[in-house]
Each structure stands twice: as structure tokens, then as C-alpha cells.
Subunit: 108 residues, 2 copies
């Protein structure tokens, strides 16, 4: 979206959209699910688990990192990713509050 017009939308709407955008690709959903299932923080195992190249998976990880849903630590030659439960909780609360509001709306 054009930077000039971004300010035209409410901050919370932009925040919600940013969260949604981070989740708007099945690969990133799958990554989060993998991190949820394996207690281990994973790295290149994700590449094996996904039908995508290493560089593409790395890019998706960056997207999730930038929005804060996951965090990374360096473990020797490899990178270890894990869920940022705090951020996820915050995002979940935002989304839940929004959707609950919608559900309660009087329909036409």
C-alpha cells in the first residue's frame, strides 16, 4: 500500500491487516504449525517439511520474524526458530476482539 495513504487508515486496522498479511500464506501457516507440533525449535527441518526451496522458506521465516510472531536464536551453524507466545497471544486477542465484534453486529 502506498505509504502516503497508509495514514488514512486507523492504526488498529493497519495492525490487524499486518497480522493477517503475515498469516496470508499457507506456507507460513504450516511453519507456525510445525513450530507448534515439535517442541523443538526447528531450523532447516522446516525446509524438509515444506514443498519449497530453502531460500523461500527462509524468506517466509523473515516475514514471521518481522511481524514478531516467531523469534530466532543462532545455534552454531544453524538457526533455531520458535513461537513468540507473547506476541501470538497479543495478536490473538486483537483478532478475537475484532471478530467477536463482527459476530455481534446486527445484520440487515
Amino acid at each position: 500500500m502506498p505509504t502516503a495513504k497508509k495514514a488514512a487508515f486507523k492504526a488498529e486496522d493497519q495492525q490487524l491487516a499486518a497480522i493477517a498479511r503475515a498469516l496470508a500464506h499457507p506456507a507460513r501457516i504450516a511453519i507456525l504449525r510445525q513450530l507448534m507440533q515439535r517442541q523443538t525449535c526447528i531450523c532447516g527441518e522446516l525446509v524438509s517439511a515444506l514443498p519449497l526451496s530453502q531460500s523461500t522458506v527462509s524468506q517466509h521465516l523473515q516475514v514471521l520474524l518481522e511481524v514478531g510472531l516467531i523469534c530466532a536464536t543462532v545455534d552454531g551453524p544453524r538457526s533455531c526458530y520458535c513461537l513468540n507466545v507473547h506476541a501470538i497471544r497479543h495478536a490473538g486477542a486483537l483478532v478475537a476482539r475484532f471478530l467477536e465484534g463482527l459476530e455481534k453486529a446486527p445484520c440487515c
Copy 2:
């Protein structure tokens, strides 16, 4: 995403991503919020409420329509949109279940 690789992701992941994609723009969040606030099903009032052209707003409405979050009825020369509470509830449940799972995950 390439149609050829779409099948490589779990159906539920694709469904979640599709919902997220529909919400991945502040204009569409704002549209849903407008429909929530005004009990009236709105049409071109949305254009006045948003910093976007009529054709662009119409496009965003189509996106929300296609994913089923809103529904439309024709009222004379104008179109009347309203929230599809049923679909919203379903989407909300899907998202909530996913995020709750993430929150409970054992972190590294």
C-alpha cells in the same frame, strides 16, 4: 501462489491463509468495521468513509464477497452489503482454534 503447488499444503492451512488474505488490507478491515457499526447495510456510503475511489472500494468488496465474509443484495440502483455473520463465526472459530493451539505450544 502457484496453482501447481497449492495441493502441497494442507486444506485447512489453505483455508486459514485464504481468510487471512481477505483481512490482509486495512481498507477491508475498515469496510467490515463500517458494516459492523452502522446497522444499515451500506453501499456507496463506504466510498465516502474510505480514502479510496469508488472502483477500488468495489474491488475490495468483491474480495470480501468471494471469501464469503459479506453478502450483497441489490436495492434499486444501489448495492447493499452486510456482514455474513454465519461465515464470520466460522472463520473466527477456525482462526481462534489455530491461535489458541499456538499459544499453548511449549516454547523453546
